[in-house]
Amino acid sequence: MSAVVEARDLTVSFGSVVAVDGFDLTVPAKATLALVGRNGAGKSTTLKVLAGVLPPSSGTVSIAGIDALRHPDQARAKVGYCPDVGGLIPRATPWEHLQLAATMRSMSSDWERRAEDLLDRFDLLGVADRVTAGFSHGMGRRMSVLLAAFHEPEVLLLDEPFDGVDPLGVEATMDVIRELRAMGSAILVSTHLLELAVEACEQAVVLRRGRVVAAAPAIELTGASGAARYRSLLTS
């Protein structure tokens, strides 16, 4: 199957600090990949580069066959991204976020129906016209996931989507992941919650100090032996 996300020799440095240290990443269509690792392993930085927020120091990034560094706008059109913190304009309402996304992404006129449906599924319909500054952390996370999935992207990047989210919100996120995967999207999920990562994704990549230290089916990280292996990968 052809790769929808393809990063080669990806490196991101902040001065003398190397956050991502020259690794390759390939994610085909309909694949779900969990990025796991300790704080500072480079998970969020990797997703930021793939989302077009952060330019890499070196390396190449291809999104759905588009060179994301040479044609960033075309690549952004294919990507939906939920950042690890915030991600919402504090004094805009969820509905205004969706209006803006629909405008900027030139979505068809029936975007309102999908917006209402997603708001309902994420239990945000009742607060769709309240500014997001008043949202709890969990509500903000749900809204960020919703915005990432809104335009049914070919690449869905979710950074800590389950952080502080209640079980119903987690279920709604899982549903969206399943739905987009069925439509052919490639999905990357970065999380510290290993159990949810395994539930959401088939494959897992373990990062440590900006490098890939293991890539395996996510199921292999479950159970006592999986947990022990994961722990050894984080510390060895």
């Binding site: 952004r76 913190v85 991600g87 919402l88 504090p90 205004e96 405008t103 309240r130 915005l147």
Partner: protein, 509 residues
């Protein structure tokens, strides 16, 4: 266990100031701040020396006008903290939430930052120079006695002003308090109109208590110690009493279980149709970010209404009106324009993933900034024109309007450059939130004031020609240079590394 809650407010304040100083990593910036701190002293000395060359009849007229300058300073000392919810803060409150910072520390921190307000600083320098000059020939000991009186008056007015600012901020935590303070504001405005319209200004100024302070300064100079020491003692008493009162008021205001001026977050807002054009859609979101932010909304209203009303009441000449837009445009730049992308705050990361966002975002931020700057300068100009004496020539009117336009455009160009060079995470949610750190605010306000004052003076000079079209043509190079500056900043914004640095900083990511 440590007993940190009992650490005196002054010690806490010193620790916070030291931390702020250590957070300035660049040595040149440290030197610049140190220089800026002693600059006002140098300006006072230079002002006093230069005014010795003025003829004696000027001394008399200045002496008569001095109490009026003092009244003006009191108005400023009350208005400035009133508008900013008590004054500027050393740190945003969310950065200190883990520390047992006393309310008195927060209050005294706003006092320490009073000089960040350029209008305050200019007035302070003017008060020292005018009083020192009007009291008589420069002499080391007598002049120092009169200047001690001025210093105590400035301190007293600033402490009283900030205490009132905190008191009003505390009242405004509840709906009833907001109604009461709004009514109070309207009544003050009506009283102001009444005083000007009935020509009672001179009578009121003659009976102003500031006359007693000025006389005290003269007595100090002339060695009439009983009278001088009485004034000094009263001023010291005012400082001590209001300082204690301010500590208590800050404690009361910060403990009030109010809605912290964020009332829009809990109610549903009507849906509006959004333009299908990216720039207009982003502009609509930026407008919402301004109008739904308490400090920004209040700042815009003050900027647009107050200078207009004051200019209308003052009955200025057109030659003076040419100089007005410079000061107001500088104020408009400090509202949020020096860090324009902070309007998106945490949302900027998501926004930067939207296709076709880059150029429209820069344009939308510039437009919303320009709208406010233009509204402020034009309001002052139109207000001033209502009761202005007839112009000596059409060139004065043209110069005034070109000065307004150029100052607004210049401030936008400079502000957008600053937004890229000095991005800063700021929520602009609380009443005392500012778009940048105190140091950047002070530096930018000086920069804006310098550039816009020179621009205004340039148009004042062009107006003297009496040729109506000269200011119009004179505006072209200023507008072109500003446009070029703005365009080059826009090119920098297109660069992914520059943009990422701004986005990551304002979003706190």
């Amino acid at each position: 266990m440590s007993d940190s809650a009992n650490i005196p407010a002054t010690r806490q304040l010193m620790a916070l100031l030291q931390l702020r100083w250590r957070m300035i990593r660049s040595t040149p910036i440290r030197w610049a701040i140190a220089l800026l701190t002693i600059l006002p002293v140098g300006l006072v000395i230079a002002g006093l020396l230069s005014m010795q060359t003025l003829p004696d009849d000027e001394t008399l007229s200045l002496a008569v006008a001095t109490p009026t300058f003092y009244v003006g300073f009191i108005v400023l000392a009350i208005l400035a903290p009133l508008v900013s919810g008590g004054g500027y803060e050393l740190y945003p409150p969310d950065q200190l939430v883990a520390y047992p910072i006393r309310p008195a520390t927060a209050y005294r921190g706003t006092l320490v930052l009073a000089p960040v307000n350029l209008a305050w600083l200019i007035n302070v320098i003017a008060l020292f120079v005018v009083t020192g000059f009007a009291t008589g020939d420069l002499a080391w000991v007598p002049t120092s006695r009169s200047l001690v009186t001025v210093a105590l008056f400035i301190l007293a007015a600033t402490v009283v002003g900030h205490t009132i600012g905190w008191l009003v901020m505390g009242f405004r935590q509840s709906r009833r308090g907001r109604v009461v303070t709004n009514i109070g504001g309207v009544l003050a405005l009506v009283a102001g109109f009444f005083i000007f319209w009935t020509d009672s200004v001179i009578t009121l100024l003659d009976n102003s208590p500031t006359t007693r302070v000025v006389v005290g300064a003269y007595d100090g100079y002339n060695g009439e110690y009983t009278s001088w020491l009485t004034v000094v003692a009263v001023l010291v008493l005012v400082v001590v009493v209001f300082m204690r009162f301010g500590d208590a008021v800050a404690g009361w205001a910060l403990r009030r279980p109010g809605d912290h001026a964020d009332r829009t977050s809990s109610r549903s807002l009507p849906r509006r149709t959004m333009s299908r054009n990216a720039t207009f859609a982003l502009l609509m979101v930026d407008h919402a970010s301004v109008w739904r932010s308490t400090p920004l909304r209040r700042g815009v209203l003050v900027l647009v209404l107050v200078p207009g009303v004051i200019s209308a009441l003052a009955g200025m000449t057109w030659q003076s009106l040419i100089l007005v837009p410079g000061l107001i445009a500088a104020g408009a730049g400090l509202l949020f324009g020096i860090n324009a992308f902070t309007l998106d705050s945490t949302g900027s990361v998501w926004l930067s993933t939207l296709p076709g966002w880059v150029s429209p975002a820069y344009l939308a931020k510039s437009l919303v900034f320009l709208e406010i700057a233009l509204a402020a300068v034009l309001s002052a100009l139109v207000g001033g024109s209502l009761r202005a004496q007839p112009p000596n020539a059409a060139s004065e009117v043209m110069a005034a309007f070109m000065s307004a336009l150029c100052c607004a455009v210049l401030v936008v160009a400079l502000g957008m450059r600053s937004s890229l060079r000095h991005p800063h995470r700021a929520d602009l949610k609380g009443p005392r939130d500012t778009p940048a750190t105190p140091g950047v605010m002070a530096a930018q306000s000086m920069r804006f004031a310098l550039v816009t004052t020179f621009t205004s003076l340039y148009f004042a000079a062009l107006a003297l020609s009496g040729v109506w079209w000269l200011p119009l043509f004179g505006a072209l190079p200023v507008l072109l240079l500003s446009a070029l500056h703005w365009y080059r900043t826009g090119l920098a914004w297109e660069h992914p590394h520059v943009r990422a640095a701004v986005v990551m900083t304002v979003s706190g990511g």
